[in-house]
């Protein structure tokens, strides 16, 4: 319950950022160097202000919005990729199955963040510089998505192997439905439960990955800062005593990730009939 409330609160804060936030941090008019480095608790700046004179509370709300958006989009991408590969692998079997699962094994032996970093780095190098700024976020979503498909594919494959032998699938085959139709219309609905649980927990991982890449300077560009970018900026001011610029976005990130994790745990227990 607490987790659900907290998650909802975070999502609401991110979603309604334009209405809650005292100012719009993307509006160049809100940049005012005279107002830079206000301490937390200053009038008008509940969490202080950053080096550009923007209200930190507003930038965190907008940053959480971007973090959450990138996280959700990359999970969706990983889910689509993983579920379709898993379905094909489990239903077709044979060579295709062996190939997909071998690729999955190899990818699983590298940490996801390394894969995301490499895909992102490769994409950056191979794309011309002009378009890089405008497509940084799609590239990021793609690379985090590619790094996370294996779990979905393995789960779905295992479940599909079981479903394939059941009578309703054989019945569908007998009445002459095409394999694609059987996979999408008959098998897919029956394997989605565990996929949803993986997806919830994966959102938290994806948000951490996004924040890490942005912190390393290869993620979201500073013009539209996510939480990771904010922490990166704040890190530069740690030594001059402006600790709040890094610390508060960090706290926001931890609260966001922790609440989603707790929600995922709760969902897993709720969907598991053995525990009821």
């Amino acid at each position: 319950m607490v987790a659900a409330t907290l998650t909802l609160l975070c999502i609401a804060g991110a979603l309604f950022a334009p209405w809650i936030a005292p100012q719009n941090p993307f509006d160049p008019a809100s940049l005012n160097l005279n107002e830079a480095f206000h301490r937390p608790g200053s009038p008008g700046y509940p969490l202080g202000s950053d080096d550009q004179g923007r209200d930190l509370f507003s930038t965190i709300l907008y940053g959480a919005r971007i973090s959450l958006g990138v996280g959700l989009a990359s999970v969706l991408f990983a889910l689509l990729l993983g579920v379709s590969l898993g379905l094909v692998s489990g239903y077709a079997g044979g060579r295709i199955d062996a190939f997909i699962m071998r690729v999955a094994d190899v990818q699983l032996s590298f940490p996801a963040i390394l894969i995301a970093l490499l895909v992102d780095g490769v994409a950056r190098v191979s794309l011309p510089g002009v378009v890089q700024g405008s497509i940084a976020i799609p590239v990021l979503i793609l690379s985090i998505g590619v790094s996370g498909w294996v779990q979905y594919a393995r789960t779905v494959r295992g479940l599909t192997l079981v479903e394939r032998e059941k009578e309703y699938v054989q019945a569908a085959r007998v009445i002459g439905r095409r394999p694609l139709a059987i996979m999408v219309a008959h098998v897919l609905p029956n394997v989605l439960g565990p996929v949803l649980v993986i997806a919830t927990i994966h959102i938290a991982t994806a948000i951490i990955t996004e924040a890490t890449l942005s912190f390393l300077g290869v993620g979201v560009p500073p013009t539209e800062p996510s939480l990771g970018t904010l922490i990166r900026v704040g890190n530069d001011f740690l030594f001059s005593g402006e600790w709040w610029i890094a610390l508060f976005p960090g706290c926001a990130l931890v609260i966001l990730v922790l609440s989603i994790n707790l929600l995922g745990d709760w969902l897993r227990d709720a969907l598991n009939p053995k525990l009821r």
Partner: protein, 323 residues
């Protein structure tokens, strides 16, 4: 045994060739080297000549094969950003990363195993609760945030430990070590904790759950029935079987430590390979990226291979099945 070994080695070579292919195709995406060499004044005939001399007119797979041969000799060309051989740049940075990873792994094992044993043997003590809560934080906090928090507390506020660099290093042959100077050791503390914390919590939780599992088995009950002391039951009988999976996971995590060193090195400006890689991504320095890619893949493949073989050696059940 031999078939198992050969299959594993074959797979490892296949993975390395694939990674090499990805690394090699990086070069094809960034411009035509012949255009850079001659500038604008070169004629088309000259460019054609260079292309033939450099072998760039040969088929893709012939070029790829010569790349693989060079890479196997550690030869990746010149860095575009710092005009130096990539092999020398990496060799300069390698000791920093390996020393950091080694200390972090040591820390994770030396702290994680006792903590896991304690939380399994005394599940109700307040210290166990504290350790478990702490491990939850260790798993859910991103690495870079832990680093920033440590810097904030120990460098900025207390001023006890340095927050960036390696301190003074001593050259031993081609290897620069920070182990022999006081400032080198002091600079090692915070990065090693940052890097090792996640693995430490992982090991702690693993040892705890394995230990709880083993303590429930019949042979432990029998050992107790024989009247052995708690100490003998816990450490002579239970711990031994607990450690088999721990060795495997720790081995596999070594690769993860080297990969996660990228983040820690960025936070602490540690002059290792990870920092070099991040800088080369930002500058589109393809030869360095390709070399790092191949090197890290080689580490991973090697570690996986060794762990597989160790498992085979440690667990007799695997041997019986294949006979």
């Amino acid at each position: 045994m031999l078939a198992f070994l050969l299959r594993r080695v074959g797979q490892a070579i296949l993975v390395m060739l694939t990674v090499g292919l990805i690394a090699f195709s990086l070069f094809r995406f960034v411009g035509d080297p012949v255009v850079y060499m001659g500038g604008q004044d070169a004629t088309e005939a000259q460019r054609e000549l260079w292309r033939r001399e450099l072998g760039l007119d040969r088929p893709f797979f012939v070029q790829y094969w010569s790349f693989v041969k060079n890479a196997a000799h550690g030869e990746f060309g010149l860095s575009l950003r710092q005009v130096q051989p990539v092999s020398r740049l990496i060799a300069d940075r390698l000791p920093a990363t390996l020393e950091l990873s080694f200390v972090a792994a040591l820390l994770a094992v030396l702290a994680g195993i006792p903590m896991g044993i304690y939380t399994a043997l005394r599940p109700r003590s307040w210290l166990s609760h504290a350790l478990l809560a702490g491990s939850l934080a260790g798993v859910s906090l991103p690495t870079f945030l832990i680093g920033i928090l440590l810097i904030l507390v120990f460098s900025v506020t207390l001023g006890w430990l340095p927050s960036f660099g390696r301190g003074d290093v001593v050259q031993l042959g081609g290897w620069s070590t920070g182990f022999l100077t006081a400032s080198g050791l002091k600079s090692l503390i915070l990065p090693a904790i940052t890097l090792g914390l996640f693995q430490m919590t992982l090991i702690q939780r693993l040892v705890r759950s394995e230990m709880l599992e083993v303590l429930r088995t019949d042979y432990i009950r029998f050992a107790r029935a024989r009247g052995l002391t708690d100490r003998a039951v816990h450490f002579r009988h239970a711990l031994k079987n607990t450690l088999v999976p721990v060795i495997t996971i720790t081995g596999l995590q070594l690769g993860a430590i080297i990969a996660f060193a990228i983040i820690t090195e960025t936070v602490f400006q540690w002059p290792g390979m990870g920092l070099l890689f991040i800088q080369s991504v930002n500058f589109a320095d393809v030869p360095v990226m390709a070399a790092y890619l191949c090197l890290v893949a080689a580490f991973f493949v090697l570690i996986n291979l060794v762990v597989d073989l160790l498992y085979y050696a440690v667990d007799p059940r695997l041997r019986i099945e294949t006979q």
